[in-house]
């Protein structure tokens, strides 16, 4: 995971200068293990991140859910409000529907 470390180093550098207000890196992970890395500012709303992610992977934003530590992320949540830390992971889940087993 040398890459990850590089990334961290990089972030730490930034963290030194901007610290609590500086951007952080977050990892958006699907249940199959695919990851997309974002750098976001601490007051960026999660809805924005979700939109960017959906767009990137070509999904309808309505069909994906972002979870942070098992909690659904709200539109107005931000890394700051969630007290996210650099390198944190967001789980992206796909809408589930059910009516019966066919």
């Amino acid at each position: 995971m040398a890459d990850a470390e590089d990334q961290h180093d990089h972030d730490h550098e930034e963290a030194k200068t901007e610290d609590a207000t500086g951007p952080i890196n977050v990892k958006v992970v699907t249940s199959t293990g695919d990851e997309v890395f974002f750098k976001i500012k601490r007051n960026t709303k999660m809805s924005k991140l979700k939109g960017a992610y959906a767009q990137r992977v070509g999904k309808d934003v309505q069909t994906i859910r972002f979870l942070y530590d098992g909690e659904r992320l709200g539109e107005d949540d931000t890394p700051a409000s969630l007290e996210m830390q650099d390198g944190d992971t967001i789980d992206v889940m796909v809408e589930q529907v059910g009516g019966s087993r066919l």
Binding site: S47, G58, K59, V61, G98
Partner: protein
């Protein structure tokens, strides 16, 4: 639009099946209203899933569940609909790791009930864990477990006299004996209540080898529940059974001396000290409720393992026992679309009278009931399920009204600053009046990507394509412009961070649609 006309519309949509089709992506309600993290966001698109015959989605399920008896929150932990998907990972450790932090702020063992809504194969069902702390005790004596197969094979008879104890049992058990389960589960006694045959074996043995306290009685109750043709002679006077067995071969502790017997191989891990078998009251029960009647034994196993892993991780307790799986016999659905409503209804009714429900299940099982007893009508109120869609609609509508008010108030206060902030976009360099941090408020930057699975044979989209499309639910005009791509730092980030191959996207899609079902999104 005047206030009254708004209200009229709401009333209209409340009572009409077809509301004037608003934008399905438009947010309708954030629940709970305080909009904290974890809130469910219901859109008009979600709402439409309450139409007859539509399949409910995770959002509606979580809304319905969270609404059921909020006053019980202290005693109940409700996992979201994604928990089981995570934990049921083929690699259990990876699955556990992925949810390990979910409970960092809650002690699930302090709860009385844990609710686990489950979605599999386009079907909703439910598990309720009762008394999770029951697993925190050291495991019972594992010698007591005799794999059914071995007793079937009558190795016992030949091998060691005391094993004869198991012989009559295997005769009693009626039915296919060797479900692989028995071995794989390797459960200590009394885990698979569902599985009568095994249960029989286990119980008798435990009676003879075990503790000599009152526990076997409880065990028996548990054991009987699913017997197709209950061995009545064994059933009622549970004490007699132990007598029967006791009369036969060996004195109680003889079985433990059996160690070298052929059947021991499977029980090899069993080396814990002999200790009293606990009564059922202490047991962790894992009920599964399925409106299609499925038993879902793997669920019991996985949740049991989860509890054990959780005990180890959060409490440092390694010596634990397993949860006892029970299938709750409850009314079933008669259509192909309502399982989600049954799940919500289950939880509501269960929470009304949890103890009574549990007792009723146990009683059903004791009696070997195949169908819910008549007394269920009072507990269950099945007729309400039919109204559930309309009830949920009504609730969502009236809450939505409150939420809108609240939001417009909040926005009113917020607006001045926010609107300007929203207009910043392009480079994020605009001078934003709101606060000094506003200049950064919109940054979302993709810095890399890592595909675990397929290698992207990337038909890359052009940067420009991506930018021209709209970026999500935001009300800001074109958020995509804020997204700056940066050269990927990850070496395995496949071709840079431009678009994503269509092939890669595919695996993100929700489950495939069912033939001809127009209600599913693909």
């Amino acid at each position: 639009m005047t206030r009254s006309s708004t209200r009229n519309e709401e009333m209209y949509s409340m009572f009409r099946r077809k509301s004037p089709s608003p934008d399905p992506n438009e947010l309708m309600l954030v629940w709970p209203l305080d909009s904290r993290t974890g809130a469910v966001h219901i859109t008009h698109g979600d709402f439409k899933r309450l139409e007859p015959q539509e399949f409910l989605n995770d959002t509606l399920i979580e809304f319905g569940l969270s609404e059921a008896h909020p006053e019980m929150a202290r005693d109940v932990h409700m996992f979201n609909t994604f928990f089981y998907k995570k934990i049921s990972n083929k690699d259990f450790d990876a699955g556990y790791e992925s949810v390990r932090k979910w409970t960092s702020k809650v002690d699930i063992f302090a709860k009385k009930y844990i609710i686990v809504p489950i979605n599999e194969h386009l079907h909703w069902y439910l598990a309720i864990i009762c008394n999770p702390q029951g697993i925190l005790r050291p495991p019972p004596v594992k010698e007591l477990l005799v794999p059914r197969k071995s007793s079937r094979l009558s190795t016992g008879r030949q091998a060691v006299a005391p094993l004869e104890v198991s012989t009559p049992i295997s005769e009693v058990s009626s039915g296919p004996a060797d479900e692989a389960e028995v071995e794989t589960l390797a459960t200590p006694l009394r885990t698979q209540v569902e599985d009568v045959h095994m249960e029989d074996a286990v119980i008798h043995i435990s009676e003879s080898g075990g503790s000599g306290d009152t526990a076997p009685v409880a065990d028996l109750h548990a054991a009987d529940m699913d017997v197709d043709s209950p061995p009545t002679s064994l059933l009622d006077p549970t004490r007699e059974i132990s007598l029967e067995l006791g009369d036969g071969p060996p004195p109680r502790h003889a079985v433990t001396q059996l160690s070298p017997s052929p059947s021991r191989g499977r029980l090899s891990e069993a080396s814990s000290p002999l200790e009293p078998v606990h009564g059922e009251d202490d047991e962790t029960l894992i009920f599964t409720f399925d409106s299609l009647g499925g038993a879902h034994k793997p669920v019991t196993k996985i949740l049991s393992r989860y509890l054990q892993a959780e005990a180890k991780d959060k409490k440092g307790i390694v010596e634990t026992r397993e949860g006892v799986g029970k299938k709750a016999r409850a009314p079933t659905q008669h259509n192909f679309c309502d399982c989600g409503l049954f799940v919500i209804h289950f939880v509501e009714k269960f929470m009304d009278k949890p103890e009574q429900f549990i007792q009723s299940f146990l009683m059903d099982q004791k009696k070997g009931e195949k169908k819910p007893g008549a007394y269920w009508d009072e507990l269950w109120h099945k007729e309400e399920v039919n109204e559930k869609r309309d009830l949920l609609k009504g609730e969502i509508n009236s809450l939505a009204e409150q939420w809108k008010k609240k939001r417009s108030q909040a926005q009113g206060e917020d607006r001045k600053g926010k609107e300007k902030e929203a207009s910043i976009i392009p480079s994020g360099e605009e001078t934003a009046p709101g606060s000094k941090s506003d200049e950064e408020s919109d940054g979302v930057e993709i810095v890399g990507e890592k595909k675990k699975t397929a290698s992207p044979r990337a038909a890359r989209r052009k940067k420009g394509d991506r930018r021209s499309s709209k970026a999500g639910p935001d009300d800001t005009p074109d958020t995509s412009q804020e997204i700056e791509e940066v050269k990927p730092r990850r070496k395995d980030a496949t071709g840079p961070t431009r678009g994503l191959a269509a092939a890669d996207v595919v695996k993100m899609r929700p489950r495939r649609s069912i033939n001809g079902n127009p209600f599913l999104r693909v």
